[in-house]
Symmetry: C3
Subunit: 331 residues, 3 copies
């Protein structure tokens, strides 16, 4: 496996990832995806290593995915839950991180409601000379790199199941629909998709996306357009990525109602007729049925890649932990 | 091991279980019971497999028992906890189940406060063509098959520690005392005990058991009687199964007071004199001391099988997961 | 390894521990400390054994440390969490313990807000003839032996990294500063430090330490003094152990304010000038920064042993579980 070029201890944002790095991840994830189809879906790669999940913002789905990825690699896992923690006792986040460092943690998977917390922990660990990697599992509105990487893997694998690679995305039209400006998932996907040469089209009400926002992600490889209607984004699209709508957006007057949102930006079977015939729908989950997607679309396994994304998530997270751990042979 | 006749992917209710199936479970559980007496109480049977505990209704005791059974079989375990979950984010129960399916779950252990949820999940998984088994760990007032099966194992093993089998129950008088009509444990036990030919006697106040209720469980093999007093049920009984009294029954006026309940239906040493000399007391736990049982009875290891039930629980749940997993050799 | 002299099934208090026993623990912990520096930081010592963490009083830090120690020894672990437990259903603590005993628990790690609960569980298990050890992970104001033992290991290892032993503590001046009278950590440390011959100096406001309190811990080996000012305790001290200040002490009028406490008893770089040049600071964590310690002192790795204590914690807890399990060869 071509891990010789892998030089990152931390995975905090995809902002400066290269196509070569994306290809290493896709290739490594593909080999773990194969491991997960065996009867014994486990490799001894990280046996005796310790991965600590520090989810300051609770998330059953993402924590389960990381916990499972760690177990499939035979690592030991500690789950830090803030509810019952010392944080309520006046300890700082860095003190908590240093405590788990002192216990022998090899990698920390960090989710926090505030942007920048994983980066701050990574800086502190580096300052202390610790050889410990930090994986950002979602920080505020900033980034959610493992989600964007599993999305990338899902798309690439959709175009070539046997050899998922970045080249497959070149020129593909990918629509991203929904609450873009408040989405760390969208931000991370914008870095990866444009770097891989995709033709990305954002569609949302003006309160949820703006041209200056999109300009920040401009890249030489791909292209990026902003639409305030759904239709131009869907036209001839290969992939439609929908985003979860946070219901609190309504109370802050950014949206009139969920019903109205669905009428204008919800993905239905009728609207899919605008896309390429082989187009597929994605969503990071959990889906608000009847808001971002009609139930009919979501439950149609010929159209929806939502379950595939979940499956990809385990393989991609195994790949990330493996690469961060400086891994050699997979199985 | 005679698992050739085992054809069930799911265990949802005991309604249509045959004596042959009960015997396979008893025999398999006996061999795991032996494994649990070794110094290394573990077998590699389900290594690399994934069991997800989905306890929508919280339960430390039953979840611990299933978690331990899975670990003793060397499976990986994910615990889904509804409190911190996506359900609060608008995801349906089936979406949650499909997410864990997509992560690679091999078996789901499901508890829910509403009757029918495990069945609904099982139907959906079958519809999707998933080769994934669902084990009902208690749904509403409907069923709690693993509890009834561990009760069956406890009774059969009591009569013959070396070869627990259904034939041992034929003609034995088994009293079931307490809040029968609201008990999923009682319902599941009624299917198994009558199918094994036991002579079952129900005892409860008229608000907590009725003749039409009992008629629903009539069987050719065993016999079933209803009493509104305790004494006729205890007379010459071999086994007395007590049920947990939910304190909310009082507020709905089904019971006058816990004190009065204990005076009429509580099991005390005096009342046990009515039973067979070798009679034993059971309870699914946790016990309300001084209500269903006097502390004196509960703590007398010569009379009480309550701890044995807990021990049986791990062995029986190992057997169920093993059989659902299509297992071959045990150790 | 010299475990021939180890005869304790339970570790509940250090009150009657001998220097020989402390030396066995230090020596065993040192060998596990070495295991924890290997690439695969795991030994198969307790494979197939079951350790149940029963934390009636929640604690992420201590529970994580015990959970990790158990996993490093390859044991299976069950975590009992009171929030979702049967205790709210009327079950007694002893019933809970007996349930986990019946599931096959080999060792119970018990924390409870009331003094004496681990002892009560241990008595009950002994009465039942169970061969199950109880480790007190903190009970009320009474004791926290594993914390004191990891403190002892940290100190001994500081004086001789290669061969930590009790003899190294003879005549060393150790200051204990803070809320001594309400601290189970201080109580346990007083037993161990005086038994090892240290010269212990307590410093606290008169509301938080008294001479009669100290007299209870008088020993032939070490010496013990009480000061109501910080300075005489710090003068020429080799080690300064600080204790966590519970903020509720202020509401009960035992302290004027955190600010005033820090002015009189907080450890700052200036005050450390009174100590030996090589003096080190300890704290059981979590630290109230700017109260017990200035951030400057706490974050100075040349002065603070706080992180070392956390690392020692895993090794010492492995040693305790190993010794209680009647272990033979370590690796």
């Amino acid at each position: 496996m071509a891990t010789t070029e892998w030089n990152r201890r931390h995975i905090l944002s995809l902002e400066d990832f290269t196509a070569a790095e994306y290809d290493i991840i896709l290739q490594t994830a593909a080999s773990f995806r194969e491991v997960l189809t065996r009867r014994t879906r486990k490799v001894p790669t990280l046996q005796g290593r310790l991965i600590t999940n520090m989810f300051f913002e609770p998330s059953t789905r993402t924590r389960s995915s990381f916990e499972l990825a760690a177990k499939r690699l035979s690592a030991d896992v500690l789950n830090f839950a803030p509810g019952t923690s010392s944080l309520t006792k006046g300890e700082t986040i860095l003190d908590t991180a240093k405590t788990y460092l002192a216990m022998g943690t090899d990698m920390m998977v960090v989710r926090h409601q505030q942007s920048g917390v994983p980066q701050t922990i990574a800086w502190e660990l580096d300052r202390l000379g610790a050889q410990v990697g930090v994986l950002n599992a979602g920080d505020g509105l900033h980034a959610h790199p493992s989600q964007a990487l599993l999305d990338l893997f899902t798309i690439a694998q959709h175009f070539d199941p046997d050899a998922p690679r970045t080249a497959l995305l070149a020129g593909k039209k990918i629509a991203i629909v929904g609450d873009i400006v408040h989405s760390r998932v969208a931000r991370s996907n914008l870095w990866s998709l444009t770097a891989c040469g995709a033709d990305v089209h954002l569609a949302a009400p003006p309160t949820l996306v703006s041209k200056p926002f999109a300009d920040a992600f401009a890249s030489e490889s791909g292209s990026l357009s902003v639409h305030w209607q759904l239709e131009p984004a869907l036209e001839n699209a290969d992939i439609v990525m929908t985003l979860r709508l946070q219901k609190e957006r309504m109370s802050s007057n950014l949206l009139p109602s969920l019903r109205e949102y669905h009428q204008q930006f919800g993905i239905t079977r009728d609207r899919l007729a605008l896309c390429q015939p082989h187009a597929r729908i994605m969503h990071p989950g959990p889906v608000n049925r009847g808001v971002e997607l009609s139930s009919e679309v979501m439950d149609d396994a010929r159209i929806s890649l939502v379950q595939t994304q979940v499956t990809s998530g385990v393989a991609v997270r195994m790949a990330l932990l493996y690469l961060m751990g400086g891994g050699k042979s997979v199985a």
